[in-house]
Amino acid sequence: MRMQSRGGGGGGRSGSSGPRGRGQDRKKGYKKKFLFRKKKFCKFCDEKVPYIDYKDVRLIQAFTPERAKIFPRRISGTCSKHQRKVMQAIKRARILALVPFLAD
């Protein structure tokens, strides 16, 4: 289900500016299609998470779905500041074999 939405969203979204919905500078067709899309937000900013711990396997797993790839910002809505920290944490967790580099 996730894969489907990713493929479909990617196609319709080519050229869009970022994860946050700015309706006015989107193409008309796109706007119509996703008129009632829920606005994405950064989970970490919202909860004021002070430190993203690479030892927190559950948190890391939430950001490495399916094939253990890093969940992209454009889908998760995480802000760039926190995405960088998530990325760092995931990479550290991978080194320690807490989460896999790839899963199939």
Binding site: V57, L59, Q61, R92, I95, A97, V99
Partner: protein
């Protein structure tokens, strides 16, 4: 002096007593290098996410230390020399929460909480 968080993974064949000896040895290294050990955590045996040198399991040990930078080099050299250490990682302590108990040490009931789901595009 800076604070560092260092983790090493030993092979799962190692007994509890052997691991304790190892911790003691590294403790000695840190203390003799004018450092301080702030925290030691034994996570016990865990399944590795992928096999390292054909080992499917490993025992994790976490230490938080405060020491001069040279000592980190020495400690890592010793990790590398020990063939029973599968993997190690040393990072600088960035946040106070790293000095307290790590998420691994959380009691069971808290772990039963539903995994935080990420918002997925509809």
């Amino acid at each position: 002096m800076l604070k560092y968080e260092t983790i090493f993974i030993t092979d799962s064949v190692m007994t509890e007593a052997e691991i304790d000896d190892l911790i003691k040895a590294y403790d000695q290294v840190v203390v003799s290098g004018q450092g301080k050990v702030l925290k030691v955590e034994k996570w016990g045996k865990r399944k590795l996410a992928y096999a390292i040198h054909r080992h499917e399991e490993g025992s994790y040990v976490l230490m938080v230390i405060e020491c001069p930078a040279d000592l980190v080099k020495e400690l890592e050299r010793r990790y590398r020399m020990n063939e029973r250490i599968l993997r190690h990682l040393t990072v600088r302590v960035e946040h106070e929460s790293q000095l307290g108990p790590s998420p691994m040490m959380r009691p069971r009931p808290e772990r039963e909480e539903p995994v935080p789901e990420m918002p997925v595009a509809p």
